[in-house]
Symmetry: C2
Subunit: 313 residues, 2 copies
């Protein structure tokens, strides 16, 4: 969809995916086609409240001079971002999120709101950015407007979408717990750190099986220590096993949650980068769930979709 290097001579709209660790800008023509992309390590965390207008100019380069609307999703709309775009309560209709857009004080940028959902106990859950990915999947042939989606990552989101509404969702700290426990707890002590992202192997699958059936992660993840201690797990496999154990726990719990909701959990849309989609597809299939990879450019699609609703494109 993106023609890298092509001169964006007919830019009508700039879509910005502005998250915690990085920012990406996409030039979009009047037909809704993405013609070029620029990225910079100008995430909200790096900027720490610095001059966001200046950061946007750096990200856009010569696009900054173009007299076209800029529309962003992600942590840039959080309290730590440029301006707080208040959360919209669930159930929330994805198609009408554009009505709740927040502009920066100088109208440099319009920002999509995040979503908030409170469970039966009143405990809130929040998302920022994922709602735009979901909007980008509406009408997609495979999913229609009702589907269950998982967006794996630092904080995985499991979402029930019904008739174009986000009815409920849950966050799982899977990616962050993996990184933090491997780096700072006893679990990493016997682990060899590999370079690069490898395909999930047998140690990953064993971890998924263990994590998917155990009663508590607090116990099951200790296996990454004891299996290594007894020589049942090679040092080079510890990280992969732990990754499987956490992902297996997440999927088993999310499936129970979905079925309590009365939704069908036999098919799940998986939206994310290739490496994570491969891991989740493998883990889901081992638990009898069919995974459909979502579009990789779901955020841009969502920004274009919502931008049209907002009259920005």
């Amino acid at each position: 969809m993106i023609a890298e290097g092509r001169e964006p001579s007919t830019v009508a709209f700039i879509a910005v995916d502005w998250g915690t660790t990085s920012a990406r800008a996409y030039a979009v023509d009047a037909g809704g086609r993405t013609t070029a992309m620029r990225q910079a390590p100008l995430g909200v965390q790096q900027l720490k409240g610095a001059d966001f207008a200046h950061a946007l100019d750096r990200l856009l380069g010569d696009w900054a001079a173009l007299p076209v609307p800029r529309f962003a999703a992600g942590m840039i709309g959080s309290r730590q971002g440029w301006v707080e775009a208040p959360y919209v309560d669930c159930p929330a209709r994805l198609d009408t999120l554009a009505r709740h857009v927040t502009w920066t004080p100088g109208r440099e940028l319009a920002i999509v709101p995040g979503l908030i959902y409170r469970d039966e106990q009143g405990v809130p859950d929040v998302m920022r950015g994922e709602e735009t990915q979901l909007a980008g999947m509406l009408g997609d042939a495979k999913g229609g407007d009702s589907f269950v989606a998982v967006m794996p990552g630092t904080h995985s989101k499991w979402v029930c979408v019904e008739g174009g509404f986000v009815t409920e969702f849950q966050t799982y700290m899977t990616g962050e717990a993996f990184a933090v426990m491997l780096e700072h707890s006893i679990l990493g002590r016997l682990a060899a750190r590999d370079a690069g992202d490898v395909r999930p192997g047998p140690a990953f699958s064993a971890g998924v099986a263990h994590g998917g059936t155990a009663l508590s992660l607090l116990h099951s993840m200790f296996g990454a220590r004891t299996l290594a201690l007894t020589g049942d797990l090679a040092a080079s496999d510890v990280a992969d096993w732990l990754s499987g154990c956490l992902i297996g726990n997440e999927i088993a719990a999310a499936r129970r949650w979905i079925s309590q909701r009365g939704a069908a959990a036999g098919e799940v849309r998986v939206i994310g980068g290739n490496a994570l989609v491969a891991r989740y597809t493998s883990a889901l299939s081992s638990q009898g769930v069919r995974a459909h990879p979502g579009p990789e450019d779901a955020v841009v699609r969502g920004l274009i979709h919502l931008g049209r609703q907002a009259g920005l494109l």
Copy 2:
């Protein structure tokens, strides 16, 4: 039981509780009474394979010259310790652990073995030190020789003891996960760090209720972030809520595990320091379980008990 400062003129036996972060030595007379205690920050982690014989001399001071047996429990018998005391398989009879004592090469110290248990999936679990605490509780009026015990801490142990045998046990990384997630994950970002150890309050109880009913800790602990974000939880209560959430998860899972084992989980012995025993007693009672605090000096009792079996006292 310990008469601090009294001169141990009739020392017949020295019991050593030698763990990861500290070491304690107890002078015991011929009647099995503890007459004095000495401690030093000479844990296995601090020593990092240094001269253990020298460290023992430093810990013992003038007791080092006494011609009496020294008997130790804890991580000093691990691979990172002085000499590895091989694990004894479960079911393991606590009374006969003394048969498997390992001596240091110069016979400076005898060490109690740890225990290993493999679950149905073949995943091992291990303990070192806790088996000696359990031996110290045998015959205790409240528990008899059959009981369920929890030893909370960095790595909580839940143990089924039947007729003096450790039949099965499970480790929960509750204390370590709490410390690591609060310090290194997003959960600590909105938390105010308090000084000191406070009694568990309403935030702790709310965390217990949430963690005890949730399907996955990976999701439930995210509440420490979102409740603070929405102002439902004060910054000063975040740590307490998270502690409750983790302990609630541990107890709920351990209770299901115990009932799957066919053991009665209505009463549990809780062995540990005062602050942790208070937290676990409160959390257990909110889940309908009666907690009996175990003896605080369970390790010394166990070393004396096993020392007699081994003919060292």
